[in-house]
């Protein structure tokens, strides 16, 4: 069983012979990751930080050093981390505020949709993913080597159409790219080993990737990490393709496909109150209630 919480990960590393300095590095990475993906959840409603810890735990269990474990905790920093883009995020809160009279469920659904549209909007995509300011922040905190690995993780295209080339060229990868591919493999195992993929609202789409690319991923695991990770992936893929979950535990198809942000209610509603004040200045007669 792989760790899913900070406590389990630290206990695993302590038992695994990592030094105190290693643990300090991992703790620092955890603190930053927990802040960046705070309130973010996966499409199956599992907290995002549990996924990051799971990837780190798999990496550690397969012999990765402390730096790679730290990268595993930070691997989604640029894709899903909230570095405080500020006003851009607030656009979505305006929408949530304007939809205030709707039912809670409708508001939540539309709020998530708007957030995902905004996040996917091309002019903001680069800003959302990697910006010099974000890179500088991670470089300051963890040094250039760790940040470069996180950056390359973000840059790598792990798509069905790119996997064959990755398999063919795996022998020529440099050490950083090998580490990145290893983390993608750990990421794959983390998403499948406990059946988490099956609870997604759109699990069929995700299972299609496993069906189409599973063999390539397993082959890549053999090349990059050795037979143990490859065997675990093969077993996880074989099992997940035949397993099913009770309908009552699956999410409604309206739910977000990949991951979504669910800030604390007081933060969301306070933001609404502030916007109301702004509107009062802009649009005379806006009710304060």
């Amino acid at each position: 069983m792989y760790a899913q919480t900070k406590i389990q990960l630290l206990e695993q590393l302590r038992d695994g012979g990592y030094t105190e300095a290693d643990l300090v590095l991992v703790l620092r990475a955890y603190a930053v990751a927990a802040e960046l993906v705070s309130c973010r959840f996966q499409g199956n409603n599992n907290s995002f930080i549990a996924h990051l810890v799971g990837v780190a735990s798999i990496a550690a269990a397969h012999g990765a050093g402390a730096e790679i474990v730290a990268v595993a905790l930070l691997h989604s920093a640029y894709r899903n981390g909230d570095f405080g883009e500020g006003p851009l995020e607030w656009l979505c809160d305006v929408a949530a505020f304007l939809l205030g009279r709707w039912s809670h469920t409708q508001r939540r659904f539309l709020y998530n949709k708007l957030l995902s549209w905004y996040r996917g909007w091309r002019p903001f995509t680069r800003l959302r993913l990697v910006s010099p300011a974000k890179r500088r922040r991670l470089q300051r905190q963890f040094g250039a080597r760790i940040e470069a690995t996180v950056y390359r993780f973000t840059a790598l295209r792990w798509w069905p159409e790119t996997l064959p080339a990755l398999v063919a060229g795996s022998g020529a990868l440099d050490s950083v790219d090998r580490a990145v591919v290893f983390l993608y493999l750990a990421n794959e195992l983390e998403r499948t080993h406990d059946g988490g993929l099956l609870y997604h609202a759109h699990s069929e789409q995700k299972l299609a990737f496993v069906r189409d690319c599973g063999d390539s991923v397993v082959k890549l695991a053999e090349e990059i990490s050795g037979p143990r990770l490859a065997t675990e992936l093969r077993q996880a893929y074989a099992w997940i393709m035949t397993a099913s979950v009770p309908q009552e535990l699956r999410l409604s198809p309206r739910w977000e496909a990949w991951s979504y942000l669910r800030p604390p209610l007081s933060a969301r509603w306070r933001m609404g109150a502030r916007l109301r004040k702004v509107l009062m200045h802009c649009v005379p007669g806006t009710p304060l209630a």
Partner: protein, 245 residues
């Protein structure tokens, strides 16, 4: 026929994520509406505990899932398992109104989500006195208690087990104080579990408490890992203005 997911997952281990809990529930015999109710409780917990962490830095949702997992493995009703997911909702939950404690509006919200039976357990958990003295006064004399109060005690004991079972107690700043509390109450808790008719819970509590008192707590890493004396909210940076912590 496709293999059911039951049987896969960390058997004998306390679940820490909704996925692990969902895998466990069918294995423990929950079906149909019971599963739906527990899922609704988790979805409410997700909303109310978003961003909240325990003093050890562990996600608060993991703690409530663990509590529910313990209750599920003890074969408690779906209402009690759902109450495990929401047990601290009135004290630690963020309902967006900035208040703590149970208010009529909050109670209605919870009742609508998970039903009045579960809400009653959660409410009594919130208003019950959990001090040393009150627990000692209870002792193992549980005869006068109503069923719902026995269920509240069950949730409390599951909550205690969850906090100690993974060693999380050592990663919080006041762990020495917490350990003193344990040493004073370990026997009472164990006797309560026995009086409730769940010897396996009594045994698990005894083992967890023993492990807790025998452990070394002076590692520098453990000291660094400890964050705050109480639970706290870490809101996303873009949403921090005025967030209740």
């Amino acid at each position: 026929m496709a293999e059911q997911i039951c049987g896969k997952g960390p058997e004998g281990v306390i679940a820490q994520t909704n996925i692990q809990l969902y895998n466990q529930l069918p294995r423990d015999g929950y079906r149909g509406p019971a599963l739906a109710q527990i899922r609704r409780a988790y979805e409410l917990a997700l909303e109310i505990f978003a961003g909240r962490c325990q003093p050890s830095g562990k996600c608060f949702l993991s703690h409530v899932v663990g509590t529910a997992s313990v209750l599920s493995s003890l074969g408690q009703s779906a209402d009690v398992v759902a109450a495990g997911l929401l047990h601290n909702v009135y004290h630690n939950g963020d309902f967006g109104d900035g208040s703590t404690g149970a208010t009529p509006a909050k109670r209605i919200w919870v009742q609508r989500a998970v039903g009045p039976v579960t809400e009653e357990i959660v409410y009594r958990f919130a208003v019950k006195d959990w001090s040393h003295e009150a627990l000692r006064a209870h002792g193992s004399n549980l005869e006068p208690l109503e069923d719902v109060d026995r269920q509240v005690l069950m949730v409390f004991l599951a909550n205690e087990l969850e906090r100690f079972a993974d060693g999380g107690i050592f990663y919080q700043r006041d762990c020495a104080g917490r350990l003193r509390f344990v040493s004073q109450l370990r026997e009472v808790s164990v006797r309560m579990a026995e009086a409730l008719g769940v010897p396996q819970l009594a045994e698990a509590l005894r083992a967890a408490f023993r492990q807790a008192t025998e452990r070394e707590i002076s590692s520098p890493v453990l000291r660094m890992a400890r964050t705050t004396p109480g639970s706290y909210v870490c809101a996303p940076r873009s949403f921090r203005m005025g967030c209740r912590t």
